[in-house]
Symmetry: C2
Subunit: 356 residues, 2 copies
Amino acid sequence: MNKATTLILTSSDVNTIMMEHGFNRLMDDLINRLSLEFKNFDKEKSIIPIRSGFNYTGQFPGLVEWMPIHKVNDEVVIKIVGYHPKNPKTFNLPTILSSISSYDTRTGHLKGLVDGVLLTALRTGAASALASKYLASPESSVLGLIGCGAQSVTQLHAISRNFKLQQVLIFDKDKDAMISFESRIRNLNLDINVEIANINYILENCDIVCTATSIDVGEGPLFKDFITKPHLHINAVGSDFPGKIELPLSLLKDSFVSPDFVEQAKIEGESQQLEDIDIGDSIITISQNSDKFEYLKKQRTVFDSTGLALEDKVVMGLFLELADKFNVGTKVRLENISTDVRNPYHFLEKHISVKV
Amino acid sequence: MNKATTLILTSSDVNTIMMEHGFNRLMDDLINRLSLEFKNFDKEKSIIPIRSGFNYTGQFPGLVEWMPIHKVNDEVVIKIVGYHPKNPKTFNLPTILSSISSYDTRTGHLKGLVDGVLLTALRTGAASALASKYLASPESSVLGLIGCGAQSVTQLHAISRNFKLQQVLIFDKDKDAMISFESRIRNLNLDINVEIANINYILENCDIVCTATSIDVGEGPLFKDFITKPHLHINAVGSDFPGKIELPLSLLKDSFVSPDFVEQAKIEGESQQLEDIDIGDSIITISQNSDKFEYLKKQRTVFDSTGLALEDKVVMGLFLELADKFNVGTKVRLENISTDVRNPYHFLEKHISVKV
């Protein structure tokens, strides 16, 4: 531990890390690390409160919330994340803006601060890939993306690492988002056929579907009637706020619903529509008992992904390690630490003439 | 708003700002701004949840907590603060390590990140100076400091701006802290007599006393019996955790106790010892009705200072303004914001050969 410095990984730093390490290798590493964290998860050793935050309506509706996790005898990681659906059109900014910080629990020292925009997109994709591994048919080849914003790119990327995808069917109520999608995934070099479709066609023809929309509170679900393959697996990514839902209750009640974090999903996720008895085991429980849940791959399943601080800890840890490997990032002395810890005004002594 | 950059004020930046602006002028500005914020405080417009965090025992006991405030239609400010009493002796680090960040509520953008170590010491001092203005005798000339760590320096500095102090009586159970105190305040150029004394002597002879110790949970109070001047005012700064108290119940019950934040003080402050009926109006209420509370200056009073996110917002705002004025700080592109907000992998397009 360098006790006096904080490593800052900026936007360009995290891009550099991803280029140096290779974007597929990075996604594979992330999925593997997340898989290990889920398998080894112990709630006595990783304490995750339900996230909290401020939300508001008005001219620029949105929320700013904090997602903390305490890895006992190790670190506290806190992601601060904003969700402002007007950002793209009004400010040409991503809907989700975020940063992630890590603190040494021996001292409270801020070890690092990292962009949370790219990292959130990556870890949300990785979580869907992992959930799909446990809940979708291993033969899945047709992926549906409902909502073609920033998250859809990493959903596709992550899931393409676990499945031999041949076709992607996409829908967004914003035509621009649909039209630009193919150009946005070009550099992933996927040998895959992309087609625009309507929601019902997607539901009927896909093996896996990801919903990642900014549907307004009270406006969901995205669809009402549906015909699906018996083994359809849905990664429901968008629902992360009280009143915001993407899927109809009838589909949820007729599917196995696995939240990332049951207590949080009951407040913010698709599971807010369900009684406790209709909510399945969490994806962590399933990953710790995968043999027992093998049968789910043949059934209709929903991963109720509200976002988990554990995922943020994993992705930040990976980037901090790679920053060290590739010597990327800037170390700053952020905290005012002097040679005399009892003197907050230590710096006054260095100056001969002092303005009072 | 520069929507794409985050201003970082490091340890040396905040020192520079304080030197450039003048340390007395800075403290005066801070006290004045805090005074205005308290007078204009409206709980509909400034939303302050009770702080939350992780705490732990073991080899390195301590806590990391988050203190958020939402100024409606403006900003969210979050201080992350660690309290680790073993820091000075074990790691040569301050007990309190901290950083403060500010977010634009229109977009969620992280506007700035600033050292919270010096800023916490400053604003805690300013809060005591302000409380003393409302609760202590205007003629106060003898100040007592029980606990001579980092906070004591700014307590003295701040209070010296509001009162004509002639003498400071100090006590710390750590002899080194007492002996070094005078050298630590030398650069404040105060015309003041500093004497080491025991706690009972301090209580009996002072007009204002500040308690700012790291007494352990369950080990308080700092003293049992006491004789004081009838108008003694105590700024009780150290109590900020369930079970951590500095003052005896008998003194509290026989004083007017004004918390900074009643609900929080009942959990973490001296007020955790009291029934609701024994807790006085908050310092904000008093500052909004100062005429009505004028009589308190002749009585024994306690400011139960647990620390208020509003104070962090004020001190950060002042430093951000001065950073702009003196052109101090570093602007970084922390958040991954691309020209195509829907493409988290935009950077892949800039490269001809891409590692996969």
